[in-house]
């Protein structure tokens, strides 16, 4: 991944400039809720949390305290364990150490402070910073900042159990609401969630972007940008709008949600959660008493759509008005699959998958995919990009997920009923992530070092 160095304050011993001064200024101005992960790194002059940490930071390389794309996303620390990643390459290329160092140095203090089982441990400066972390610490209270591998694994499994049970409970709640026709409640919930995503999360994201690239932007400008972005988004998603714009907004909010997951879920927990949610998806959609299957059948009995605002459709959206007719000729996509996602932030989430055989609407031959599936695909690829180390892993995950989706659509064409979209793709994605990271990466690094081509 890229690193940027501004030559503002050239350190006499370091060949590259340091950005710490400008970063500290902007960080002091920023709302604390935006990012907690890097207070430990950039706030060195404000918060003497641990002298040992500071000494280590001072003595470290110049790229250790740069606030870049990687450190903006990753926050938990690796345990001090013997490396179980094999290192066969005797002569690593000169480009790999900077990437790896970005992986190993994290915001230790922030994770350690927030790791007190949900309590606001640590010094007073962390109180505000931990507010944002707290909302996710409710769901993942077991810290991953432990030195033993087994303990960390256990903690991540426990975190996963908590998250999945939250998701199950919310799904059942939603199914019950739908069964008893509380449509107003559901619509209000959805509108609130999309409001929060479009305004609050995008504001946070914009703040992160400005911090990373060290841009100074005033609040009125940000206000105008966020207001326009959010208002058009609400109109497009919940009312009428051009199809492309609606698709773009749905993709954007899925990506924002995925970024929240990538940033605030601890590393191993995220991988275990991805695995567990595909199993849950499989069970919930295919088993006869699964909540998603009940949702599908209820909607089919009543012959009505399921919350079209939360479903990505590749062709015309048949309940939301069209500003221009979409091109309905898409070869080969004759079957549909739906899944939906009611987004979260402070609220827990639920998601369903279903498919509606669209025989009565002849123009709607597109494929429907739920936003929840988009979110978890994005979490996989985003985690691979943020922590995997190099671009080969990201590309491999990307292709694997696409192929999983193709296979799922193929199965859909064969079986013509509701199918879970997650299991095949996430399985492929996980397999390829770990195998590319451990097996392909050293091979390709060696080849690149000698400039051999295969």
């Amino acid at each position: 991944m890229q690193r940027r160095f501004l030559m503002e304050h050239p350190h006499p011993q370091m060949p590259f400039g340091r950005r710490e001064l400008s970063l500290n200024v902007t960080h002091a101005c920023n709302a604390q809720l935006i990012d907690t992960a890097n207070t430990g790194q950039t706030d060195r002059s404000f918060a003497p949390r641990s002298l040992l940490h500071r000494a280590a930071m001072n003595a470290s390389d110049s790229d250790d305290d740069s606030y870049n794309e990687r450190t903006a996303l990753v926050q938990s620390e690796n345990p001090v364990v013997p490396s179980y990643r094999p290192e066969p390459d005797v002569n690593p290329p000169s480009d790999s150490p900077p990437k790896r160092s970005g992986v190993t140095r994290r915001a230790g203090p922030a994770a350690m402070d927030g790791g007190g089982g949900g309590s606001v441990g640590g010094s007073d400066q962390d109180v505000d910073a931990d507010d944002e972390e707290l909302t996710l610490k409710i769901y993942t209270p077991f810290t991953e900042n432990t030195p033993s591998v087994g303990r960390r694994l256990l903690n991540s499994v426990l975190n996963t159990i908590i998250m999945i049970s939250v998701i199950v409970v919310m799904t059942i709640f939603l199914v019950i609401l739908y069964k008893y026709r509380c449509y107003k409640f559901i619509h209000g919930w959805l509108i609130l969630s999309s409001l929060m995503l479009l305004f609050w999360f995008s504001f946070m994201y914009l703040g992160e972007v400005f911090k990373t690239y060290n841009l100074a932007v005033d609040y009125p400008t940000v206000g105008v940008i966020i207001w326009n972005f959010g208002a058009v988004g609400m109109i497009c998603i919940h009312w009428k709008g051009p199809l492309q714009l609606q698709q773009a907004y749905l993709i954007l909010i899925s990506a924002l949600m995925a970024l929240v997951f990538i940033k605030y879920l601890p590393e191993w927990s995220a991988w275990v959660i991805l695995g567990a949610i595909s199993v849950y998806d499989l069970v919930a959609v295919l088993s006869p008493k699964g909540p998603l299957r009940m949702l599908v059948e209820t909607a089919q009995e009543r012959n009505e759509p399921i919350f079209p605002a939360l479903i990505y459709s590749s062709a015309m959206m048949w309940t939301v008005g069209m500003a221009n007719p979409a091109d309905a000729q898409r070869s080969g996509h004759e079957t549909d699959e739906e899944a939906e996602q009611s987004s979260r932030g402070a609220q827990p989430e639920s998601r369903q998958s279903r498919a509606i055989p669209e025989d009565d609407l002849e123009e709607d031959r597109g494929v429907k995919l739920g936003l929840g599936d988009f979110i978890f695909y994005s979490v996989l690829v985003g985690k691979a990009a943020a922590t995997g180390g190099d671009w080969n892993t990201t590309l491999a995950c990307f292709v694997a997920i696409l192929i999983g989706l193709c296979l799922t659509l193929l199965l859909l064409a064969i079986f013509k009923k509701a199918l879970p979209a997650l299991p095949i793709s996430i399985t492929f994605g996980l397999v390829f992530y770990f195998s590319t990271d451990f097996l392909v990466q050293p091979f390709m690094d060696n080849l690149a070092a000698h400039q051999f081509y295969i």
Binding site: M1, Q2, R3, F5, F16, P86, P88, V90, S94, D95, P98, R330, S331, G332, H333, D390, W391, N392, L395, A396, V399, A400, L402, I403, C406, A413, F432, S435, T436, F438, L439, V440, P442, F443, M444, D445, N446, L447, A448, H450, Q451, F452, Y453, I454
Partner: protein, 258 residues
């Protein structure tokens, strides 16, 4: 080592391939799917060859540099052979899938011909191969640094970009020739494709003597291009008609499978 190098090398490496993709593949979702599937097959072949290489490295003597280099060369050769095997496997799968697609879509003609599939799958292989070879190098070309400060060649980025472009186009030509040879059961042509792939990879063992590796690669690229052109049904007459805008089939722009 700046944005100029990054953009220049990116466009050198991926320019022709992206242009081909945008003009011929991007509008047809079926072709995009088969492109991604081709990329996936290349990825699986790479995974298998990395697995074998990895195991062989673990059981070998890690201190001997000569042995490591020998194992790497073995890895390269194995990878090339596996790639061609997976190309053949993809061909078999596509033949079966074509029949299935025909049954599914209830049309009389096949929605995509085997020649289009050859082109698309070759390009898919090429994209993935090129991307895996060069993306990390491109990512590092943005950052600060000096190329070749320890005595290595200063043309590392540029030569990598040119080699990648050659490899991507070569994969596309190999795909066309390979599928055509499999269709007509001409096994000598299949062997020629495999041997030329091996030759190109073995030529890169001479890096950083770039003249010795790049020039023969481009000669092979040109020859394979001509061969692919003829095996795809092109001829001098077609070429003349196309270039002087007199080719009625092309002008009508109906994508009838041949």
């Amino acid at each position: 080592m700046t944005a100029a190098v990054f953009f220049g090398c990116t466009f050198i490496a991926f320019g022709p391939a992206i242009a081909l993709f945008l003009f011929t593949i991007a509008r047809e979702p079926l072709r995009v799917i088969f492109l991604i599937a081709g990329a996936f097959f290349w990825l699986v072949s790479l995974l298998l060859s990395s697995l074998v290489w990895f195991i062989s490295v673990q059981i070998s003597n890690k201190d001997s540099a000569a042995q490591q280099k020998g194992l790497l060369i073995f890895g390269v050769v194995l990878s090339v052979l596996l790639q061609e095997t997976f190309r053949f496997a993809y061909y078999k799968l596509l033949k079966k899938a074509n029949e299935g697609l025909l049954a599914l879509s209830q049309e009389e003609t096949m929605p995509i011909s085997i020649r289009q599939l050859a082109y698309v799958s070759g390009l898919g292989f090429g994209f993935m191969s090129g991307a895996f070879s060069v993306v990390n190098i491109l990512a590092d070309s943005v950052g600060p640094g000096t190329v070749g400060i320890h005595g290595d060649s200063q043309h590392y980025f540029l030569s990598s970009a040119f080699m990648t472009m050659a490899i991507i186009l070569l994969h596309m030509f190999w795909g066309v020739v390979f599928f055509d040879a499999c269709e007509k059961q001409r096994w000598w042509a299949v062997a020629a494709v495999v041997i030329s792939h091996l030759t190109v990879s073995c030529l890169t063992f001479q890096n950083p003597e770039y003249v010795a590796s790049l020039v023969p690669t481009y000669v092979i690229l040109f020859l394979m291009g001509v061969w692919a052109f003829y095996s795809a049904g092109g001829s001098l007459r077609n070429l003349k008609l196309c270039l002087t805008c007199k080719d009625k089939d092309f002008l009508l722009a109906n994508h009838r499978p041949r």
